[in-house]
Symmetry: C2
Subunit: 151 residues, 2 copies
Protein backbone atom coordinates (compact mmCIF):
# COMPACT_ATOMS: atom_id res chain seq x y z
CA UNK A 1 0.00 0.00 0.00
CA UNK A 2 1.42 3.41 -0.92
CA UNK A 3 1.48 6.31 1.55
CA UNK A 4 -1.29 8.00 -0.40
CA UNK A 5 -3.51 4.91 -0.24
CA UNK A 6 -2.88 4.55 3.47
CA UNK A 7 -4.16 8.08 4.08
CA UNK A 8 -7.23 7.39 1.95
CA UNK A 9 -8.05 3.99 3.39
CA UNK A 10 -6.94 4.29 6.99
CA UNK A 11 -8.57 7.19 8.85
CA UNK A 12 -8.93 4.94 11.92
CA UNK A 13 -5.63 3.19 11.66
CA UNK A 14 -4.55 3.95 15.22
CA UNK A 15 -7.80 2.58 16.66
CA UNK A 16 -7.47 -0.61 14.66
CA UNK A 17 -3.84 -1.05 15.66
CA UNK A 18 -4.82 -0.67 19.32
CA UNK A 19 -7.66 -3.16 19.01
CA UNK A 20 -5.32 -5.68 17.40
CA UNK A 21 -2.75 -5.27 20.18
CA UNK A 22 -5.48 -5.60 22.82
CA UNK A 23 -6.38 -8.96 21.30
CA UNK A 24 -2.82 -10.25 21.69
CA UNK A 25 -2.62 -8.74 25.19
CA UNK A 26 -5.76 -10.69 26.12
CA UNK A 27 -4.15 -13.89 24.83
CA UNK A 28 -0.88 -13.26 26.62
CA UNK A 29 -2.70 -12.49 29.89
CA UNK A 30 -4.93 -15.58 29.44
CA UNK A 31 -7.73 -13.12 30.29
CA UNK A 32 -11.27 -13.93 29.23
CA UNK A 33 -12.37 -10.53 30.60
CA UNK A 34 -10.00 -8.78 28.19
CA UNK A 35 -11.15 -11.08 25.38
CA UNK A 36 -14.77 -10.15 26.19
CA UNK A 37 -13.83 -6.50 25.57
CA UNK A 38 -12.03 -7.23 22.29
CA UNK A 39 -14.78 -9.13 20.42
CA UNK A 40 -18.12 -8.07 19.03
CA UNK A 41 -20.47 -10.36 20.89
CA UNK A 42 -22.65 -11.35 17.94
CA UNK A 43 -23.89 -14.68 16.63
CA UNK A 44 -22.16 -14.24 13.26
CA UNK A 45 -18.56 -13.53 14.32
CA UNK A 46 -16.05 -16.23 13.40
CA UNK A 47 -12.81 -17.66 14.75
CA UNK A 48 -10.35 -20.13 13.24
CA UNK A 49 -7.72 -21.31 15.72
CA UNK A 50 -4.69 -22.97 14.08
CA UNK A 51 -5.72 -26.40 12.76
CA UNK A 52 -9.27 -26.08 14.13
CA UNK A 53 -12.59 -26.00 12.31
CA UNK A 54 -14.20 -22.56 12.09
CA UNK A 55 -16.20 -21.54 15.14
CA UNK A 56 -19.18 -19.26 14.51
CA UNK A 57 -20.92 -17.15 17.17
CA UNK A 58 -19.55 -15.40 20.21
CA UNK A 59 -20.78 -17.95 22.79
CA UNK A 60 -18.86 -20.79 21.14
CA UNK A 61 -15.82 -18.61 20.44
CA UNK A 62 -15.73 -17.46 24.07
CA UNK A 63 -15.94 -21.09 25.25
CA UNK A 64 -12.95 -21.96 23.03
CA UNK A 65 -10.85 -19.20 24.59
CA UNK A 66 -11.87 -20.30 28.10
CA UNK A 67 -10.76 -23.81 27.17
CA UNK A 68 -7.44 -22.64 25.71
CA UNK A 69 -6.72 -20.42 28.72
CA UNK A 70 -7.58 -23.20 31.21
CA UNK A 71 -5.17 -25.57 29.47
CA UNK A 72 -2.30 -23.09 29.17
CA UNK A 73 -0.08 -22.28 32.11
CA UNK A 74 1.64 -19.34 30.45
CA UNK A 75 1.75 -17.81 26.99
CA UNK A 76 3.98 -15.24 25.35
CA UNK A 77 2.63 -14.03 22.04
CA UNK A 78 4.03 -11.29 19.89
CA UNK A 79 2.57 -10.01 16.61
CA UNK A 80 4.99 -8.84 13.93
CA UNK A 81 4.90 -8.00 10.21
CA UNK A 82 1.66 -6.12 10.94
CA UNK A 83 -0.27 -4.76 7.93
CA UNK A 84 -3.42 -2.70 8.54
CA UNK A 85 -6.11 -1.87 5.99
CA UNK A 86 -9.23 0.06 6.94
CA UNK A 87 -12.17 2.07 5.74
CA UNK A 88 -14.57 3.82 8.11
CA UNK A 89 -16.56 0.68 9.00
CA UNK A 90 -14.33 -2.36 8.67
CA UNK A 91 -10.64 -3.12 8.91
CA UNK A 92 -8.50 -6.16 8.40
CA UNK A 93 -5.08 -6.77 9.85
CA UNK A 94 -2.53 -9.38 8.87
CA UNK A 95 0.35 -10.32 11.11
CA UNK A 96 2.67 -13.12 12.10
CA UNK A 97 2.15 -14.47 15.61
CA UNK A 98 5.20 -15.75 17.52
CA UNK A 99 3.79 -17.98 20.23
CA UNK A 100 5.56 -19.47 23.25
CA UNK A 101 3.27 -21.67 25.33
CA UNK A 102 3.85 -23.45 28.62
CA UNK A 103 1.41 -26.29 29.23
CA UNK A 104 1.72 -29.65 30.94
CA UNK A 105 5.30 -28.86 31.98
CA UNK A 106 6.42 -28.34 28.38
CA UNK A 107 7.35 -25.26 26.42
CA UNK A 108 6.25 -24.99 22.83
CA UNK A 109 7.30 -22.46 20.21
CA UNK A 110 5.27 -21.91 17.10
CA UNK A 111 4.46 -19.33 14.47
CA UNK A 112 1.09 -18.56 12.93
CA UNK A 113 -0.20 -16.33 10.16
CA UNK A 114 -3.24 -14.33 11.26
CA UNK A 115 -5.96 -12.42 9.43
CA UNK A 116 -8.00 -10.33 11.88
CA UNK A 117 -11.11 -8.38 10.85
CA UNK A 118 -12.53 -5.54 12.96
CA UNK A 119 -15.82 -3.61 12.80
CA UNK A 120 -16.25 0.00 13.88
CA UNK A 121 -18.78 0.08 16.73
CA UNK A 122 -19.33 3.52 18.25
CA UNK A 123 -15.89 4.66 19.42
CA UNK A 124 -14.43 1.18 19.36
CA UNK A 125 -13.09 -1.30 16.86
CA UNK A 126 -14.38 -4.78 17.70
CA UNK A 127 -12.95 -8.06 16.44
CA UNK A 128 -15.42 -9.92 14.23
CA UNK A 129 -13.15 -12.50 12.60
CA UNK A 130 -9.88 -14.18 13.57
CA UNK A 131 -8.18 -16.67 11.26
CA UNK A 132 -4.87 -18.09 12.42
CA UNK A 133 -2.97 -20.89 10.70
CA UNK A 134 0.39 -22.54 11.37
CA UNK A 135 3.43 -21.13 9.62
CA UNK A 136 6.13 -23.63 8.65
CA UNK A 137 8.98 -21.62 10.14
CA UNK A 138 12.09 -23.09 11.65
CA UNK A 139 12.77 -21.98 15.20
CA UNK A 140 16.20 -20.39 15.47
CA UNK A 141 17.70 -21.28 18.85
CA UNK A 142 20.65 -18.93 18.57
CA UNK A 143 18.68 -15.72 18.91
CA UNK A 144 18.52 -14.72 15.25
CA UNK A 145 15.75 -12.68 13.70
CA UNK A 146 13.22 -15.51 13.52
CA UNK A 147 13.44 -16.19 17.26
CA UNK A 148 10.78 -14.06 18.96
CA UNK A 149 11.75 -11.85 21.84
CA UNK A 150 10.32 -12.60 25.27
CA UNK A 151 10.82 -9.11 26.63
Amino acid sequence: MTAQEQVTLNPDRIGVEGANLNFYQAMQNLSIDMMDAVWLQADWVQCVHPNWETITGWDEIRASWVNIFQNTHRMHIQPSEIAIHTDSQFAWVTCVESIHTFAGGRMGISFAQATNVFKHEGEDWKMVHHHASPLPREVALSGTASAPSLN
Copy 2:
Protein backbone atom coordinates in the same frame (compact mmCIF):
# COMPACT_ATOMS: atom_id res chain seq x y z
CA MET B 1 -25.64 -12.80 11.15
CA THR B 2 -29.37 -12.10 11.37
CA ALA B 3 -31.46 -11.26 8.31
CA GLN B 4 -31.68 -7.65 9.46
CA GLU B 5 -27.90 -7.35 9.78
CA GLN B 6 -27.41 -8.89 6.36
CA VAL B 7 -29.61 -6.24 4.78
CA THR B 8 -27.74 -3.50 6.61
CA LEU B 9 -24.24 -4.79 5.94
CA ASN B 10 -24.58 -6.36 2.51
CA PRO B 11 -25.84 -3.97 -0.16
CA ASP B 12 -23.37 -5.50 -2.62
CA ARG B 13 -23.70 -9.08 -1.52
CA ILE B 14 -24.42 -10.45 -4.99
CA GLY B 15 -21.36 -8.76 -6.47
CA VAL B 16 -19.15 -10.12 -3.74
CA GLU B 17 -20.58 -13.61 -4.09
CA GLY B 18 -19.87 -13.50 -7.83
CA ALA B 19 -16.30 -12.27 -7.32
CA ASN B 20 -15.67 -15.07 -4.83
CA LEU B 21 -17.02 -17.69 -7.24
CA ASN B 22 -14.93 -16.21 -10.08
CA PHE B 23 -11.86 -16.76 -7.92
CA TYR B 24 -12.63 -20.46 -7.51
CA GLN B 25 -13.52 -20.74 -11.19
CA ALA B 26 -10.09 -19.31 -12.04
CA MET B 27 -8.46 -21.93 -9.81
CA GLN B 28 -10.51 -24.77 -11.23
CA ASN B 29 -9.71 -23.67 -14.81
CA LEU B 30 -6.01 -23.22 -13.93
CA SER B 31 -6.45 -19.89 -15.72
CA ILE B 32 -4.03 -17.06 -15.01
CA ASP B 33 -6.10 -14.81 -17.29
CA MET B 34 -9.16 -15.32 -15.08
CA MET B 35 -6.99 -14.83 -11.98
CA ASP B 36 -5.73 -11.54 -13.48
CA ALA B 37 -9.35 -10.38 -13.64
CA VAL B 38 -10.14 -11.43 -10.06
CA TRP B 39 -7.36 -9.64 -8.18
CA LEU B 40 -6.65 -5.98 -7.56
CA GLN B 41 -3.21 -5.60 -9.10
CA ALA B 42 -1.63 -3.54 -6.33
CA ASP B 43 1.63 -3.83 -4.43
CA TRP B 44 -0.11 -4.25 -1.06
CA VAL B 45 -2.48 -7.16 -1.76
CA GLN B 46 -1.70 -10.37 0.12
CA CYS B 47 -2.04 -14.10 -0.39
CA VAL B 48 -1.51 -17.01 2.00
CA HIS B 49 -1.58 -20.39 0.26
CA PRO B 50 -2.04 -23.35 2.65
CA ASN B 51 1.19 -23.86 4.62
CA TRP B 52 3.00 -21.08 2.74
CA GLU B 53 4.46 -17.82 4.02
CA THR B 54 2.43 -14.72 3.17
CA ILE B 55 3.06 -13.30 -0.29
CA THR B 56 2.66 -9.52 -0.64
CA GLY B 57 2.18 -7.67 -3.94
CA TRP B 58 0.40 -8.70 -7.12
CA ASP B 59 3.53 -9.56 -9.13
CA GLU B 60 4.66 -12.15 -6.58
CA ILE B 61 1.12 -13.45 -6.03
CA ARG B 62 0.61 -13.84 -9.79
CA ALA B 63 3.90 -15.74 -10.06
CA SER B 64 2.73 -18.12 -7.33
CA TRP B 65 -0.49 -18.90 -9.20
CA VAL B 66 1.46 -19.45 -12.44
CA ASN B 67 3.67 -21.88 -10.55
CA ILE B 68 0.71 -23.71 -8.98
CA PHE B 69 -1.11 -23.96 -12.31
CA GLN B 70 1.99 -25.21 -14.13
CA ASN B 71 2.44 -27.98 -11.57
CA THR B 72 -1.20 -29.07 -11.49
CA HIS B 73 -2.66 -31.26 -14.22
CA ARG B 74 -6.26 -30.83 -13.11
CA MET B 75 -8.06 -29.31 -10.14
CA HIS B 76 -11.62 -29.51 -8.88
CA ILE B 77 -12.35 -26.96 -6.18
CA GLN B 78 -15.67 -26.25 -4.59
CA PRO B 79 -16.39 -23.60 -1.95
CA SER B 80 -19.02 -24.39 0.68
CA GLU B 81 -20.18 -23.01 4.03
CA ILE B 82 -19.92 -19.54 2.44
CA ALA B 83 -20.43 -16.53 4.73
CA ILE B 84 -20.38 -13.04 3.21
CA HIS B 85 -19.98 -9.76 5.09
CA THR B 86 -19.81 -6.45 3.28
CA ASP B 87 -20.07 -2.70 3.54
CA SER B 88 -19.94 -0.41 0.53
CA GLN B 89 -16.14 -0.50 0.16
CA PHE B 90 -14.84 -3.79 1.52
CA ALA B 91 -16.14 -7.31 1.98
CA TRP B 92 -14.82 -10.47 3.49
CA VAL B 93 -15.94 -13.97 2.72
CA THR B 94 -15.24 -17.15 4.64
CA CYS B 95 -15.70 -20.58 3.11
CA VAL B 96 -14.45 -24.14 3.16
CA GLU B 97 -12.57 -25.24 0.05
CA SER B 98 -12.89 -28.86 -1.06
CA ILE B 99 -9.91 -29.47 -3.31
CA HIS B 100 -9.22 -32.41 -5.61
CA THR B 101 -5.87 -32.09 -7.38
CA PHE B 102 -4.26 -34.26 -10.03
CA ALA B 103 -0.51 -33.78 -10.28
CA GLY B 104 2.36 -36.12 -11.07
CA GLY B 105 -0.07 -38.97 -11.74
CA ARG B 106 -1.58 -38.76 -8.26
CA MET B 107 -4.93 -37.55 -7.00
CA GLY B 108 -5.04 -35.60 -3.76
CA ILE B 109 -8.06 -34.60 -1.72
CA SER B 110 -7.85 -31.86 0.85
CA PHE B 111 -9.92 -29.27 2.64
CA ALA B 112 -8.97 -25.71 3.47
CA GLN B 113 -10.51 -22.85 5.41
CA ALA B 114 -10.41 -19.59 3.46
CA THR B 115 -10.80 -15.94 4.36
CA ASN B 116 -11.11 -13.80 1.24
CA VAL B 117 -11.23 -9.99 1.33
CA PHE B 118 -12.56 -7.91 -1.59
CA LYS B 119 -12.44 -4.18 -2.35
CA HIS B 120 -15.09 -2.30 -4.32
CA GLU B 121 -13.42 -0.85 -7.43
CA GLY B 122 -15.79 0.94 -9.79
CA GLU B 123 -18.41 -1.63 -10.73
CA ASP B 124 -16.29 -4.58 -9.62
CA TRP B 125 -15.27 -6.30 -6.43
CA LYS B 126 -11.56 -7.14 -6.57
CA MET B 127 -9.76 -9.65 -4.36
CA VAL B 128 -7.17 -7.97 -2.13
CA HIS B 129 -6.46 -10.75 0.38
CA HIS B 130 -6.67 -14.54 0.30
CA HIS B 131 -5.81 -16.62 3.36
CA ALA B 132 -6.25 -20.38 3.04
CA SER B 133 -5.17 -22.92 5.63
CA PRO B 134 -5.48 -26.71 5.84
CA LEU B 135 -8.53 -28.13 7.60
CA PRO B 136 -8.00 -31.39 9.49
CA ARG B 137 -11.01 -33.12 7.96
CA GLU B 138 -11.23 -36.83 7.28
CA VAL B 139 -12.05 -37.70 3.71
CA ALA B 140 -15.20 -39.82 3.53
CA LEU B 141 -14.83 -42.31 0.69
CA SER B 142 -18.40 -43.55 0.79
CA GLY B 143 -20.00 -40.37 -0.51
CA THR B 144 -21.18 -38.92 2.79
CA ALA B 145 -21.60 -35.22 3.46
CA SER B 146 -17.92 -34.46 3.89
CA ALA B 147 -17.01 -35.88 0.47
CA PRO B 148 -17.11 -33.00 -2.01
CA SER B 149 -19.11 -33.35 -5.20
CA LEU B 150 -17.26 -33.34 -8.49
CA ASN B 151 -20.23 -32.28 -10.61
